[in-house]
Amino acid sequence: MTTEDGERSRSVERNNARTRWLHAAVYVTVLVLLLTGWWLTLGQEGRPSPLAELTRAADAEIHTMAGWVFAGVALLGIVAGWRAARTLLTDSVRFRRTDLRWFARWPRAVVTGRFGRHEGHFDPGQRVANLVMIVLLLVLIVCGIGLWAVSGGPAFVWFNRIHRWATYLFTPVIAGHVLIAAGVLPGYRGVWRAMHLGGRLRRRDAERVWPAWLERIDGDRRRPPDR
């Protein structure tokens, strides 16, 4: 067995290349949108942000353009990856009684890594975050298109108000997601690999965070192919 084979046997692929690319496109555009959006919200309009300096375009223009790119990426994700989108949605809305135990143990588990058992593809906290992010991103897209379509006036005031409040709610959720996904918290150490580079994470990390998913993957591997 070569070193590479050894590495592969100790790791497991969580996300394929297509999912990882889609995720990367989403977070790059969301990052641009958050940066330019907050820059404008904090009263810096007219003073170019580092990104505006770099691109020689106004922050408002960059924000609008990135918004269109994001809407396109979201649409592409739903159309081209409808199966993955369906899995994301169906697993995120499924909650079981045992998930309550997981939530109860979670505050300590982020430090100790001793999470409660759950049966989902995503952990219960991830499922809540997924739903909140999906709903808020949809609201942000719809209101963003509304803002662009009306340009000003009474309807603009409402679209702007909802767009702002959705951003206020979305920002801490995405910050929490980044904090967890980055693996800064000991319980989530190593999970960043699931969405980056080869999308393979160490088996011991998968076992700790997504135990039932790992068992299903292993079960599928052992099962003889259907004839």
Partner: protein, 163 residues
Amino acid sequence: MFRSSLLSSVAFVLVLAACGGDDDASTTSGGGDGPSVEIVEPADGAELGVPFTLVVDSSEELGTTDTGNHHVHVYFDGDDSSYEVIESGNGEEHEITADSSALEGVEPGEHTLNISLRNADHSAAGAEAEVTVTVGEGGRSGSGSSDDEDDESDDEQPPGYDY
């Protein structure tokens, strides 16, 4: 053929309309029934100190983005990468100070002062105006006129030490 003739005629009429304006007023675009905006102060050819007073007048009500109203972008030499935002006070005086983003990179000398009427979503509303002004040395107080030479001697006085 008909289309190109029509376009040429329209362009010719627009050029004539632009040339036929009052020399003292700011050059404006966006006439007709659409929104309009003009620079009331400083006048075309004025010498400006910093800070200087700017007065804009628009056919549209001005306000912050939250109100859904229009606002005005102020910048120099057609470079709208950094600009000052006027969100209130149609026809009122606004002070453009030395730390205004509109003045970033503007050296003393002759410049074009541009304003652009914007929709609440920051897209262009189709009305712009400009005047040619001479910007004096920065940091000196002025109100858009050039009659503040008296201040110069004060600037150069050493502090009054008492030995």
